[in-house]
Subunit: 116 residues, 2 copies
Amino acid sequence: MPLKNNHSIMCRLWIKGENGAFLGEGRVALLEAIKKHGSISGASRSMSMSYRKAWELVDSMNKEFGTPLVLAVSGGKNGGGAQVTPSGDKIIKNFLNFRNKCMDVLNREIENYDFT
Amino acid sequence: MPLKNNHSIMCRLWIKGENGAFLGEGRVALLEAIKKHGSISGASRSMSMSYRKAWELVDSMNKEFGTPLVLAVSGGKNGGGAQVTPSGDKIIKNFLNFRNKCMDVLNREIENYDFT
């Protein structure tokens, strides 16, 4: 018997390298929040995350991809902040596409699966 | 470009119903620990989990499946404990098979995926 109608499969995906996780749903949400808020501090506040934690997550991505996904910007009317780079944008998009594709596959798999 | 050789896709899967998650990797590990230790208290200790938390996880599974996956046993040389039922055994097996199948699929998907 496949899952009942009111049951659904949930999934958390991430990618790990030699130094642990460097891309996943939390980091992608952080990149999106940096885009929205224009700074790491604003993004971290919006996610109830410490600035230090957010900075470490950004740093882990910048290092692993070998190209910055987030850049500090100085000056301007808000006295500086952070911007997601075109590489960062592409990684957000690619990760979310990959995630959607995986969810489609998992939903297909589970339809034919007996859990009882 | 697909993932680098030293990168791997990781995944946590669970199944949720109207009352939230009721089957996932943590619950399946708990069922396996109950089999190994012969009691909910022994299993919870081995997973550094409170007895109350373990009991709640077992209860959520028993309720959602409508058939007990774990039964209390009384008496015997160890003064009682808990046993995983044949239904519980089947669910452990089916979940782990499903998880392996999903990991195979995700690893295949990611091979053809550009993350950069």
